[in-house]
Symmetry: C2
Subunit: 207 residues, 2 copies
Amino acid sequence: MTSDKRRLQPRKQPRQVRAELTRQRILTAAAHVFAEHGYAAGTTNRIAERARISIGSLYQYYPNKDAILVELVARHLDAGVAALARREENGLPDSLEEIVRLYVRTAIENHLDDPQLLRVMIEHAPRSLALLEKVARFEQERVAYMRELFDRHPEVRVGDSETAARLVVSTVELVVHQLTAAPDPIDIPRFENELVAMLTRYLSAAG
Amino acid sequence: MTSDKRRLQPRKQPRQVRAELTRQRILTAAAHVFAEHGYAAGTTNRIAERARISIGSLYQYYPNKDAILVELVARHLDAGVAALARREENGLPDSLEEIVRLYVRTAIENHLDDPQLLRVMIEHAPRSLALLEKVARFEQERVAYMRELFDRHPEVRVGDSETAARLVVSTVELVVHQLTAAPDPIDIPRFENELVAMLTRYLSAAG
DNA sequence: CACAATTATGAGCAATTATTCAGTTCGCGC
DNA sequence: GCGCGAACTGAATAATTGCTCATAATTGTG
């Protein structure tokens, strides 16, 4: 139950394709099980069962339950970074509103995959030292990136770009998550518009 | 582990002062234990120990662990409603910004008590049917109230007041919670200013 | 004081869970 | 097709947890 497990690295370096495959099966199964039952009720035996491997095999690849979720989170964060980078390949739009929209839309798409799993990740983060560090570092980078962007862009008028960046990053992350994970379906495009409008007006208004 | 326990009501109607006292001890202890260990690791035995009563007594007042958290949530929601009502006793301010500030500040104060406990409440809500219903009803009321307020106020210019109300309620709740529960201390007044600015500009800008 | 109702006790049960390990099977180079 | 390490197996273990119940203590009442 403690968070500071010593070894979160895989126990075994895979040498055969078989091993790599098993590792992937575990992750996929874990994603399903955690999403459906939550972290506490998502038992390692259930994960192994769903992956159709023995519980012993699971513990050859992950030293404990926490490590599995940590890897899932790491992969999710990486996917998010990659998605944003891909969208920026052709350069950012000029207008602030379009930049904000790009950012918001990427966030939405990233959350649309599996909102339930994401909920588990977010919920469990504060109880896992490994996750806490990983997520904190990620958010810091995000804020720094946003801040730089705000500093450069001529439409942006805010007193303190650091505070503004934090507020924007938090708001997008939280609101998007809540909306996509909400039990009752929601008109996504409309909320995207409103969220973009709110952020754009905030950033571009005179201080 | 299932959420739909049949009886969430206290098992016993207290007839002596002693009983009422014990009940309060349990709640106070539970608040501390849940805040410190989270829901899963916040065991009923630990709660009883902290309340300095026997585990048997605990189960005379609450049929199961879930019921304890449900009552804590109910009390928190009631306190929130009461706090807002108290602030509105002398009438609302005229300017939109001041109304928004009043709302944001009340939310902050409500979260400042015990952010960790609040985190547990929020996290566990989706796994408990009783909590889910309670919180959903509360949020609906909040949204309806906000919407009506927006419809009346001359400074508010939004296309769809329902969507705007939802966005505002969600944003305040989520951002305030994240900020107050954040591990590193944060400049609360500054964030209050920025959040108020963001919401006000959003609501008052021309659609 | 006596008696009944209310409240408190806590050892222990049943169920669940993460994790281990002794043994088996598989795959690949020779 | 042989041998050896890599990969897999799953029954067993130790620990934990929510909760019960038979019993005891306390309180109010006539």
